[in-house]
Amino acid sequence: MRFFEHIGKYLFLLRKIFSKPERFKIFMKQVLQEIELLGLNSIGLVVIISLFSGAVITLQLGYNMDNPFLPSYLIGMGNRETMLLEFSSTILCLILTGKIGSQVASEIGSMRVTEQIDSLEMMGINSANYLILPKVVAVLLILPLLSIVSAFLGIAGGLVAGPLAGVVKIADYIEGITFVFKPFYVFFAVVKTFVFSFIMVTISSYFGYNVEGGALEVGKASTNAVVTSSIFILIFDLILTQLLLQ
């Protein structure tokens, strides 16, 4: 029963979020601020994890492909497919949920327990729309871009690590990353990231917005936001993969 109560409250919150902003100029200013806070401030993390993951995937593919009948360009191809199909969308979003999700939940939760949200409501402002919509728009705009950057960096990481470790030649790796390339996979990664970003930011906002109590409850809400968002990202990963790749 609690699950259905949460679903109902979540849908009700979504209805509050997606209404016309009070002042469009202020809304646009907020969106830009959130792009910087939630998106641009995550670039460092995306760069590091993408480069290293791409490098590690390439090395592991190289070390596990000891059959001489398998051409070594498959290493580059394997890294490209892994980065595009799963890492730069699903794994990246799971990692970013830890950063962005907890940040959103704790920020909104703190505003709830210190009555800042009540203060907005008291002024006649739709607090959910004012606080959450800019975050949703910012994340939906920036994370798909970060996903493409992540795939590119992961492939670049493999290009550096593979030849350096001697598991693949540069020419073979480059042949691999261009071999039977399907542009649809880029679209697939962007669609998945778009959906996961929405899940991440709205579920985290939901947990923050409905905090009751004090600092301890804000911490719990932040943890619940990350765990629940991660579970739903994995569920929707399965659904989207089945829908888009069948």
């Binding site: 210190t114 009555e115 800042q116 009540d118 203060s119 002024m123």
Partner: protein, 248 residues
């Protein structure tokens, strides 16, 4: 004038307040007093419309809150200023931006006029040279004063204060109390303050409403409050050794 009639509110099946009626006049400072957990904050938030009353009627100068649609309620809220217990200032905004916030949201005037209004409100609460500071850099008393400045920014007809002097030293608490009383008289605002501070009762209380276990137990003036024979009110007022000795 605000008139409440027989209002009740419950949460999760538990009745928090019930059957409370009273009137709050323009230009006067009204105090709702009572122990912690007596239902003061719920009453204040119900009158302000932040919580929806389960029963009864709330009228703002003849306009029934219960009969208002969402748009009308939104317009009414722009006539209400509220000072929350902890100030509820926006952490990410400077002092000036906090006061300016309601103006940006609801006033279609020039930048210069907004600046003037912010300066006026901050001067009125005696905040100087703190325009660019952030709430975390202010003392508790200053935070409350900025909260009052923000609450009066839109020229409210009604001012609600939830324990405005909680967590403040007695001297600062009196400063805040007097500031609210002055603003109330100066702008003809209908002010309702939640408190359990007897100093506030004696300093600024023009009308006192005593809430006990979610019910209105007593109503009267600050002069009458000390001579009341109401048992619950007496035990609330004279609960400390100091006040008990003073009574003797």
């Amino acid at each position: 004038m605000i008139a409440i009639n027989n209002i009740g509110k419950s949460f999760g099946g538990k009745q928090i307040i019930s059957g409370i009626s009273s009137t709050f006049e323009n230009g006067k400072t009204h105090l709702i007093i009572g122990q912690s957990g007596s239902g003061k904050t719920v009453l204040l938030k119900t009158i302000s419309g932040l919580y929806q009353a389960d029963s009864g009627a709330i009228d703002f100068d003849g306009r029934s809150l219960m009969d208002m649609n969402q748009k009308e309620q939104k317009l009414l809220r722009q006539e209400i200023g509220m000072v929350f217990q902890g100030g509820a200032l926006f952490d990410s905004l400077s002092v000036a931006d906090n006061v300016r916030f309601p103006l940006d949201m609801f006033w279609d005037v020039s930048e210069a006029e907004k600046r003037d209004r912010v300066d006026f409100c901050l001067e009125r609460v005696k905040i100087v040279d703190a325009h660019n500071k952030f709430p975390a850099e202010l003392s508790g008393g200053m935070q409350k004063r900025v909260a009052i400045a923000r609450a009066i920014a839109l020229n409210p007809k009604y001012l609600f204060c939830d324990e405005p002097n909680s967590g403040l030293d007695p001297v600062t608490a009196i400063v805040i109390d007097n500031l609210i009383a002055e603003i109330t008289a100066e702008f003809g605002i209908t002010t309702i303050i939640n408190t359990h501070d007897m100093n506030s009762v004696m300093e600024i209380g023009e009308k006192i409403l005593f809430i006990h276990k979610g019910h209105k137990e007593w109503e009267g003036s600050s002069k009458e409050v000390l001579n009341t024979e109401n048992e619950a009110l007496n035990s609330f007022i004279f609960s400390s050794k100091l006040t008990a000795q003073l009574k003797k």
